[in-house]
Symmetry: C2
Subunit: 346 residues, 2 copies
C-alpha cells in the first residue's frame, strides 16, 4: 500500500514530466512538492514507487519517469477531470458557428477540426453509429444518357448516393419496379437487416418482377454498403509529427497509415463501452508504433439517434486531467449541436 506522500510524489512526477518531458529528480521534487521534506526522504519514497513498478529510471543514475503502470494507476485512482477554461468553451461555440450544416457529417467533421485546434493533438470523430439506423427511402434519379443516381435515405436523414451507368437495354419500367420493390419491402428495416435480405430473398424478388434484373442488386448493394460504413474524420493529422524524432520516422509513418485506414482506426477506438470516457496507453495496445502515444476515447449520446465517438491521440505524457475535462465538455456540446440539426431537419 502506498502512503499519502508517495502518492503525492507520483502525482508530482507525472505532472512535472508531462510539463517538461524531462526525468524528475529528488531535488527538484523538493521544491515543487507542497510539504517540506529532505531530498533523501523523497528518494526513499521514489524507491518505494519504483519497487511498485509505477516509476522508472532512464538510466541507473537518472531521475524518474512514470511507467505505463504508473500512468494507469494515476488514471484509475488519482485523476480528476479539470474544469474547462471559459475561453475554450467560447472557442468551441464560435468554431461551430451558427452555420446551417448541410449534413450531420459536416458537424462531425468540424468537431475533429475544433478538437485538434484546441488541443494541438490529433482528433478523430465518428458520427452516431449507423447500425441503429433504418432504411427510410430509396430513389433512382435519371441523369441523362444511361446514367442514373441511386440514393439511399436513412432514418436520421443522412443520405448516400452513387452514380451508375445502366447496362444496355434496361427498361424504364424496370427502374420503377426496382424502386417500388425496395421501398415496399425494405423500408423501415434496420440497415444491417436490409443487407441481410439483400443476400437472401431480394434477388429472387428482382428476378420475378424485372425483365432485366441485372445490375440493380449491385446498385442498391453498393449504396447500402456506403450507408453502413462508419466514416471517420481526422483533424490535426500533422500534429502527430511533433511526437516523433528523426530515428522514429518509420513509426510516424506507421501511425499515419493507421490514421488513414478506417478499419485500423476502428480497432484503435473500440474502447470499453462501460466508461463514457476511457484512456488507453499506447503500451497497452498491440502496435509497436503507438508505444509513446495514448488514446482518449469519449462516447456521446444523441437521444434516440444512438451514440457516437470522439477521440484524441497524443503523447502518453499528456495533461490527462485537462484533456478529459475538455472531451467531457465537448461531447455534451456536440450532442446538443446534433440534436439541433435533427430537430431543424424534420
Amino acid at each position: 500500500m502506498l502512503t499519502k506522500r508517495e502518492l503525492m510524489v507520483l502525482n508530482e512526477i507525472i505532472r512535472s514530466y508531462t510539463e517538461t518531458g524531462q526525468p524528475v529528480g529528488s531535488k527538484s521534487l523538493q521544491t515543487t512538492l507542497p510539504m517540506h521534506v529532505s531530498s533523501a526522504t523523497i528518494r526513499n519514497d521514489m524507491a518505494a514507487l519504483e519497487n511498485a513498478g509505477l516509476i522508472m529510471k532512464t538510466h541507473s543514475s537518472s531521475g524518474r519517469v512514470p511507467s505505463a503502470a504508473g500512468y494507469r494507476y494515476y488514471l484509475d485512482h488519482m485523476l480528476t477531470p479539470a474544469r474547462v477554461p471559459e475561453a475554450d468553451l467560447q472557442t468551441i461555440q464560435k468554431s461551430f458557428g451558427d452555420d446551417n450544416y448541410h449534413r450531420i457529417d459536416d458537424i462531425v467533421e468540424q468537431s475533429a477540426r475544433i478538437l485538434s485546434n484546441l488541443t494541438s493533438y490529433t482528433a478523430i470523430t465518428l458520427g452516431p453509429e449507423v447500425s441503429a439506423l433504418t432504411l427510410e427511402g430509396f430513389r433512382i434519379v435519371p441523369l441523362g444518357g444511361r446514367q442514373v443516381m441511386a440514393i439511399i435515405v436513412s432514418s436520421d436523414g443522412s443520405v448516400q448516393n452513387q452514380v451508375f451507368t445502366l447496362p444496355d437495354g434496361v427498361k424504364g419500367e424496370d427502374v420503377e419496379s426496382a424502386i417500388r420493390i425496395v421501398n415496399d419491402q425494405l423500408v423501415g428495416m434496420s440497415l444491417p437487416e436490409v443487407a441481410q435480405h439483400l443476400q437472401t430473398d431480394v434477388p429472387a424478388m428482382l428476378m420475378r418482377h424485372l425483365t432485366t434484373p441485372d445490375g440493380f442488386l449491385n446498385m442498391f448493394g453498393d449504396v447500402l454498403k456506403q450507408a453502413v460504413t462508419e466514416r471517420f474524420y481526422v483533424g490535426g493529422r500533422l500534429n502527430l509529427m511533433d511526437y516523433f524524432d528523426a530515428d522514429n520516422i518509420g513509426e510516424l509513418k506507421d501511425v499515419m497509415r493507421i490514421i488513414d485506414h478506417s478499419d485500423e482506426l476502428n480497432r484503435l477506438l473500440s474502447a470499453d463501452e462501460q466508461n463514457p470516457i476511457s484512456v488507453r496507453l499506447g503500451s497497452e495496445l498491440s502496435d509497436e508504433s503507438l508505444k509513446n502515444l495514448s488514446v482518449i476515447t469519449a462516447r456521446y449520446a444523441v437521444g434516440e439517434h444512438g451514440q457516437g465517438t470522439i477521440a484524441l491521440i497524443g503523447p502518453t505524457s499528456m495533461p490527462y486531467s485537462k484533456m478529459i475535462g475538455l472531451l467531457d465538455a465537448f461531447r455534451g456540446e456536440l450532442a446538443k449541436r446534433l440534436m439541433d440539426y435533427y430537430n431543424h431537419m424534420q
Copy 2:
C-alpha cells in the same frame, strides 16, 4: 561555352548524386566517366563548371553537387526521357484493372495511387478541367421531411449533389418551377457562364415565378460551386517524409500543409502551358519549405473533354529522365482510360 567533356562531367555528377546522395569527387568521376583522363583534368573541368554556376561544393574541400542552375541546364539542354520498362507499363495496366469506375474522379484518384506506388514519390492528379464543361441538367429530389437533394449534371457526365433542408412553407410547385427555370434558361451554358447569370438575371427570374424564392438561389449556387471546384487527388503523401530529416520537421509540416490545401496546390501546379511536361525546381518556387523538392507537371488531353494535369513531387535530386518518361507514358494511358469511360457512359 562548355566543352563536350565538361558536359559529360556535369551529366555524370548529376547521375551519381541522384543515385548516392553524396557529393561527387574527381577521383570517383575518373572511374565512372566513359573516357580516360586524369583526376587533375577532371578537376579543371569541375572548376569551369563551378565558375559557370552549375555545380557547387558543400564545403571548401568537398566533392561537388549540382546547383539549381545545374539542374536547370540539365533539364533544358541535356535530358532525354527514358524508355519506360515493360514491367511498369504492365503494373499501370493491372492497377487500373478493368473495373467499371462509377465516376471520372475515381479513375483520376486511382491514378494518383498508381503513380505514387510506381515512383515512391508523391503524386497529384487533377481531372479534366471544369471550365470547359457546360450545364447538362439540374434535379431536385425530395428525400422525405423537408429535405431535398439538389443535383447538377455536367456535360461530361460528372455529377455534384448536396442535401438541403427547405425553409418552412416552400410549396411543391415552387420546387418544380425552380427546376424548370434552371433547365430551360441555363442548360447548355458553360459552368462559368451559369455562375455569371446566377449573379445577374436569375435572382429576378426566381422572384417573378416563385412565391417563396428564398433558398433556391443558394441551393443552386452551392452545388454549382462544387461543380466548378477543381478536385485534387494526392497519392503517397507519406513518401514526402523520406526527404526531410530531424531538424526539418517544420518544413515537412509546411509541405504537408500545402499538399492538403487545394488553393496552394493549384499555385504549385500551374505550370507553363506550353510544354506538355515541365519541371520546376523547389528553389525556383517561392516557398522556402520546398527548396529541396521539385515538381514535375504533365498535362493530358481527353479529346474534346479538355485537359487535365498529373504531377509528381519528389526530391530535387530525382532521376528525371526516368520520371519524365514514366509520366509521358502514364498521361497517354490515363487519357485512354478516360476516353473509354466517356464512350461507355453515353
